[in-house]
Every structure is written in C-alpha cells, then in structure tokens.
Amino acid sequence: MRSYLLIAPELVMLASALLAMFADVLPVRGRRVAAWIGAAGAAAALVIALAVGPGSVTLFGSMLRFDSLAVFARAATAGLTSVYLLWLAGNGASVGRTREATTLALLAAMGAMLMSGARDLVLLFLTMEAATMPAYVLIGFDRGDERGLEGALKYFLLSMVTSLVMLYGMAFLFGMSGTTSLDGLRVTAFGSLGLIAAVLTIVGLLAKLAAAPFHYWSPDAYAGAPAFSVAFVSSVPKIAGVVALVRVVGVLGPQVRGLTDVMLTVAVASMVIGNFAAFGQKDVRRLMAYSGVAHVGYLLLALAGGTEAGSIGAVLYAVAYAVPSMAIMFVVAEEGPTLDDMDGLLSRRPLAAWAMLVFLLSLVGVPPLAGFFGKLYMFSAALDAGLVWPVVLAFAFSAVSAGYYFGIVRSAFLGQRPRAVRVRSTRNRAADVAIAICLLATVLLGLLAGPMLSVLGYALR
C-alpha cells in the first residue's frame, strides 16, 4: 500500500477527471461544476505532491521514481492545471462543453505528471502518448470549426510520425542494451548504430516541445485552435517534456559524443526561427506559437551545456515560461485572438492590461520577474560550459523579442479603438482570480528564485 501513496497525486487527478466527466449525474446543477471539481482535485494533487516530496523508492520494477526534479515538475503541472481549471470555471459560458475540456485537461496533466517520474523507455512512451492524446482533442475542440480540426489533424499526423521515429530509435536502444530502463542504458557502450538510435529517440521529444526544425505543427495548430485550449497545450505538457528530455539527454549525453552539438544546433535554429517568424504577426496565438519555439530554443541551449545546473535551470525556466504564456492566452481568450481585438484594453480592463504587461516583460526577460532569473540562471550555466557565443546570441534575441512582444503592449495601451459594443462580460470573479494568481506567480518566481531553487533540491553552494 505504501508504494501507492507515492502516486497518490496522479490517482487524485484521475479520480477528479472521472468525476468531472460524469458531473451531470451529480445533484449539483450548473454548467461549470465540473471545472470546479477539476480545479479542487488538481489543487489537492499539488498539495499531496509537495507533501509526499521526493523519495528513492521505485515503483513498478524501477520504472517510476520521483526525485526532487520530478516532484517540482509534478507540483508545477498540478498547480498550473488547477489555475487553468479555475479560469475555465470562470469562463464556462463562452467555452461550452466544460465537462469535456476539464476531463481532457486533467488526463493530460496526469500523463505529464507521470512522465516527469518515468525511468523507463516504455513508461516514457506511454506517459508521453497519454499526455498528448487529449491535446489533439483540445486543439480540435470546436467540432464546427474546420480550421481547428485542420490544426488538430496536422498536429496528430506530425506527432504520430515523430513518435514512430522515436519508437524506432528506442527499439534499437533496447536491442543494444537489452533493457529499457534508463539506468540500464547508462552502462552499455554505444557503437555508431547507437548514435543513430539516440538521435532518433531525441527527435520524438524535441517534436513534442515544438523545437525547430520539428516545430511546423505548432503555429498552424495554435492558430486554428480556440484560445483557451492553446492556453493549456502550449504551457503545461512542456514542463514534463523538458524533464523527460533532461532524463534522456542525461543518460545518452555522456556516451553519444555528438549529442550536445545536435542540441546546440536545434537550440540556435529554434531561437532564430522562433524570434524572426514572430515579427509582424497579427494573430496573437500564432505569435505565441513562434515565441514558444524561441523559448524552447533557450531551454535547449541550457541543456546543451550538459551540466546539472543547466538542467535545473531549464526546468525552472520551463515553469517561468509556462505561467506567463498561459496567462496571456487567458486574456487573449477573453478579448479575441488578433491584435486589433486587444486595442484599447487599458481603457476597458486596466488590471488585465497591466497584468498583460507584466507577463510580456517576464517573457522578454526584464528583471525582477521570473523570466529574468530563469534566463540568468540558465545562461550562466551555459556560459560556464563554454557556450559563449550562443549565449550572447540568446541574450540578443531576447532583446529583439521585445520588438514583437511590445506590438501587443502598444495596441493594448496606445490603441485608441475601444470595441464599439461593450459585450456583457460573461466572466465572473474566478477568471480574474486565476489571472491574478498567475501574476503573483510570475513576480514571486522572480523574487523568490532562491527558495524555488532549494525546492529543486539543488545543493546550496
């Protein structure tokens, strides 16, 4: 029984997912009760995950072990999902079919939480698919809109192909090492065939994170999908994705000589394509897609360094990226996807406008917000590993990124065209509370970077 306690958070998520799915059976009427249950469930999972904390006990024959990195990722995923569902509860009317959305979100989050603890190739594959399948449905959520379905299909086809490439690689990894557990892989000597298998495996993970040149699905998927699903898909699964990448690279990195160069090239490619493509975008969802590609580029740069500090920094930055980008998508979902919809936001909703500013500044990396400390921490690790020029490039790009992020700010603050008809706000307090929580998290993640790092189990210098 003792070992089931370890995966209690995931079980709670599963239970609340099922409850949310059959919420109409419950005596309580109201459309958004599912979202409330989901939010409460996710919050409970967060508390339990933190309470249980890291342990060395392995489950299911050493396939699952939650060290401090995994605990942080689980807690972050659960927390973000809880905030997401809270916002969903607030915005139920405009979203429609909240029960399905809540269930999908919870299942995807559960998959992601398990993935962060996966120690075995098989479990890695299973949890990865568990995390992405609901994402396909979320992207294609609005059955009536063929753009959403088209986006979902593209996402589906591309991720299927890349997953199969990963599987093919994993098969050969298993072949050569005789075992599928990550610790086992560490031992075997890799010939040139092993190099290829390793690269193929990495490709699957990189595609999930939408790193260039495997990012092609994300701009179309995000542009087609409704904004609220992009909010979830573009932020929560990525945290667990980064943790998985850290695990795999941690294992394969030392044995595969060229792997760090691959990571480096992919990182630089992501930064270049992500930042340049984001300029001149009129649709905020597509802009955030490309910004996602750019930020994954920064993450991969830290991982390319190959140091433990680099991986810790990458995970911290994944959270520091997820929180503001999800919150931005919340505001976009409430206001409308294009820049013109954002015009005159300050006059209509001053609090939302200022919150939007803080989130964008965190993404640019302006201190004292979370983005800055994440980047500072990550890039000092990368610099330490000797990647001088890529880091200068990364900093230069984050400065350039101010150009396109400020496009949103300029229309929100300086745009004169308040929307003609004041649409009766379908939101209630809950949505604003969710955005406020994100705002608090973005600022505190910056100021309290110290405690955050100690939670990550990083030995105090």
């Binding site: 300050l346 001053p350 200022w354 500013l357 500044l361 640019v364 302006v366 201190p367 004292p368 800055f372 400390f373 500072l376 921490y377 890039f379 000092s380 610099l383 330490d384 880091v391 200068v392 900093f395 230069a396 984050s398 400065a399 101010a402 150009g403 400020f406 300029r410 603050f413 300086l414 970077a449 110290g450 790092l453 100690s454 990083y458 105090l460 210098r461």
Partner: protein, 494 residues
C-alpha cells in the same frame, strides 16, 4: 544593518501602489500622494546627507542573501558619489512631481509610472550587487517607455520604442558582461562589486579584461550617450513630457557614466587604462559634435538634448583621464548637468505650456513680455555654457585640468575640449539671443509670467547651482574621498 536606504529606494514603490489603487474619480489625489511621499523621501536623503561621515567610505549598508544558490545578494550601500547622485535623483523626482501638477490625462497612471521610475533611479545608485544594479537599471526602462509613449508628443510611439530598444540592446551586452564577471571571479563566484574589485586586483580577469570592458562599454555608452550611439536622445527628449525629460536628462543619462565609475573602472582597471585614449577621443567628438549640431537646431528642446550630448562628453573625458581632478570634474558635471539641464527643461516646459510652440523662430522677446521666465532661462543658459560662479564651470574646468594632467589623454584632445567649451557659449547665447532677447513675437506677446508654484520648484535648482558654483566643496567634500579610492586602484595598475 540600516534600513534607511531600503526605505529611501522603495518608498516611491509604495506610492506607486497607492496611486494604482486609487479609483477613477480620485485619480486627482494621486499627485498629492506622490508629492508627500517624495517630500518624505527627500527629507530622508537630506538626513542621510547630514549624518554622512565624509571619510567613512561606503555607509548605510544592508547586505542580506537574495538568491544564495548563485550568490546574488540584496546589497545596498552609499559612498560619496552614490550619495550625490541619490540626492540629485530624489530632488529632481520631487520637482518632477510638482512640475506635473496640472497633468490631466489619466493622472493616476502617470504618477504610478513616475514613482516606478523613481524606484529604479534611487536604486541604481545605491546597488552594490551587479544583478541588483541590473534589476534597477532595467526597471527604469519600462516606466520611461510609457511616460514617453502615452503622454508624449506627436512621434511618441517611434521615439519611445527607439529609446526602449536602444537601451535594452545595450543592456544585453552588459548582462553578458556581468555573468562573465560572475563566472571568472575566482573560486567562489560572486556578483558583489567590492569582492569583484578584490578579485580583479588578485588577477582574476587578467586575460579577458578587454572583452569584459567592451561588453560594459556598449551597455553604458548607449545610456550616456556617447557619439555615435546618441541618436535616440533628441527624439526621446523632444517627445517626452516636461517632467519625464527633466528626469531623463537629469538622472537617467548619469546611470551610464555612474556605471563606468562604479563598475567599469574599479573592476577592469587594466582595460580602462588601455581604452582611455579611445574613450577620450569619442568624448571629444561628442563634445564638439553635440555643440555643432545643437547650433543648427530649430527646436529648443532638441537644442538642449544635443547640449546634453556635449556635456556628457565632458563627463567621459573626465572618466577617461583617470585622475582625481578628472573624476571629480566628471561627477561635478553629472550633478550640475542634472540641475542646470533640469532647470532648462522646466523653463522650456513653462514656455511650451503658455505658447504651445518650441520653435525658436516663433519665440522671441521673452524677457520683455515675461521677464521672470526670460531671466531664469537666461540664468540657466549661462550656467549651462559654463560661466564661473555657477555649477556648470566647476565640472568642465576640473575635467579639463584632469585630462591635461592625465598621461592617458593626449593634450590636443584637451585643447579641442576647451574649444568645445567656447562652442557651448556659441549655441547657448545664440538661443538666448533669439528667444529671450529682442521684441516680443506674436506667440509670446500675450502670455502670463511665472506663477508661485513654478517659482517654488525652480528655486532649489537655482540655489544649488549658485551654491556649487561658488563653494565647490559643498559637492566635492562628498565626492572626492570616493574618487580617491578609484584613482588608487587605477594607479596600482601599470
């Protein structure tokens, strides 16, 4: 562990929060909140000035760990130079609030921005940890961007984004420099300036001082501004509202030069000495270039903006010289430029409020129609062209002495700088000639003279300009001991 500096720096933040909380109809009260908080801030700084022991080096220190994992400390402290700049920043902040008393366009947000700007400005001069310094450095950018973008003139969106991107691009290099310092700072890495100075003396950065200095140079040079990185300044000044351009010219420009004095010189003395002739050359170009271009301006505010480029050229000349007189002169120009150019911008703001034009061609005969405004504008112009007996002369004269005395700066550069002083007289007097003297032009003929409120916020600047001009030690008493420390570091390096 004194909490004085923390209160001084973060008091305006409290004001900002209060102003933000004010409901729409009470927005008018924002200015009172800002004024009282800034007044209290200035008194605190005054008290610090009074109890400051000139020989005591860095005082009022607070030093607690912030992000222990990578040795970032919340470390504040003030020595003579920082105190002088802090006093300037607090005083100009208070004056800026009083000067924007009649701000009617969404005043609540305006004063929130002004107070956030004040936090950044106060903080940057007392931060002794590089990351904390960088945090305050960047913190200033966003409020100033909004002050220009939302309350500026016609081309405000162009000017504000240009200002933001120029400085941000510069600060990117600075951040890389800071991280490189952190990594190369010997066994236990640190961001703390004092420890970095000791590490540098111990030879920690010997190989790469050149590259590090380049990184910091780019970051600071954009802010100073040094020719050719100056083109953002005239646009930002012309489009910014009066109070914003007073703070921009009075305090923000000094963050760049303060960076050189506090960080670049002490931590990278070898590179500073190697680069000195080049910096002096750029400084001299800035002086003559700024003066010449100012001579051709048709817009008064642009003229004053280019004059700032010229004055900051003197600061860089003083810094490049590396001598006690040069550095004293540099800090003196920083303080006096803050007072004098702040006064100039306030007067031009008054004229603009009344005549709604800044074109020199349309303005003339101020002294016959509004003698008080004309007189003060003339007084400020004479202080700006470096008339002895007023603060402008002190800094420029000491910079010239320092650069002649220094072995790093070729003598012909000091001669060109001295000619630059004469050129300053040319464009300033040419402006006074056409704007203050002569018959009252049509735009000027019906305006009213200075009001009591305006006199109230102009008087302290006039008083200080005369005080520093007549009794130099009123400023140098604080600045000189701090400068001696830096000169000894530079002297130790061959």
């Amino acid at each position: 562990m004194s909490y004085l500096l923390t209160t001084i720096v973060f008091l305006p933040l409290a004001a900002a929060v209060i102003c933000a909380m004010l409901p729409k109809d009470l927005a008018g009260a924002a200015k009172w909140v800002a004024a009282t908080v800034m007044a209290f801030d200035v008194t605190l700084v005054g008290w610090l000035l009074a109890t400051f022991d000139v020989r005591g080096g860095v005082q009022a220190v607070v030093d607690i760990p912030w992000v222990p994992q990578i040795a970032i400390r919340y470390h504040l402290g003030a020595d003579g130079i920082s105190l002088a700049m802090l006093a300037l920043s607090a005083l100009l902040g208070l004056i800026a609030v009083v000067a924007s008393w009649k701000m009617d366009k969404s005043p609540g947000t305006y004063f929130v921005m002004l107070m956030l700007l004040q936090v950044g400005m106060n903080g940057v001069f007392v931060a002794l940890d590089l990351v904390l310094f960088y945090v305050f450095w960047e913190l200033v950018l966003v409020p100033m961007y909004f002050l220009i973008a939302m309350w500026g003139g016609e081309r405000r969106s162009y000017a504000s984004l240009k200002f933001f991107l120029y400085t941000l691009a510069g600060s990117v290099f600075m951040l890389v420099g800071i991280i490189a310092l952190y990594l190369y700072s010997g066994p236990n890495n640190t961001f703390d300036i004092a420890e970095l100075v000791r590490a540098s003396a111990g030879g920690a950065f010997n190989g790469i001082q050149g590259w590090l200095f380049l990184a910091f140079f780019l970051g600071f040079a954009v802010k100073v501004p040094i020719w050719p990185l100056h083109t953002w300044l005239p646009d930002a000044h012309v489009e910014a509202p009066t109070a914003a351009s007073v703070l921009l010219a009075g305090v923000l420009l000094k963050m760049g030069t303060y960076g050189f004095i506090r960080i670049a010189l002490p931590i990278l003395p070898v590179a500073a000495k190697a680069w000195a002739p080049w910096i002096a050359a750029l400084a001299v170009i800035s002086i003559v270039y700024g003066a010449s271009v100012a001579f051709a301006q048709t817009d008064v505010k642009k003229l004053i903006a280019y004059s700032s480029v010229s004055h900051m050229g003197f600061v860089m000349l003083g810094i490049a010289s590396g001598t006690a007189a040069g550095l004293d002169g540099a800090v003196a120009v920083m303080v006096s430029h803050g007072l004098v150019t702040g006064l100039l911008f306030l007067m031009v703001g008054m004229v603009y409020e009344r005549t709604h034009t800044r074109q020199i061609a349309e303005l003339s005969g101020l002294s016959s129609q509004v003698p008080a405004i004309g007189g003060i504008l003339a007084f400020a112009s004479f202080a700006s062209l470096g008339l002895p007996g007023l603060s402008g002369f002190v800094g420029e004269f000491l910079s010239l002495l320092g650069s002649w005395q220094s072995t790093l700066v070729p003598h012909w550069m000091t001669v060109v700088a001295a000619v630059g002083v004469m050129l300053a007289a040319a464009y300033m007097l040419w402006m006074v000639q056409r704007v203050v003297l002569g018959e009252a032009s049509e735009a000027v003929s019906r305006i009213s003279d200075i009001t009591a409120r305006e006199v109230a916020y102009v008087l302290p600047l006039i008083g200080l300009t005369v005080l520093v001009g007549v009794y130099w030690n009123s400023l140098l008493r604080f600045v000189d001991p701090a400068v001696q420390g830096i000169v000894t570091i530079l002297a130790r390096v061959v």
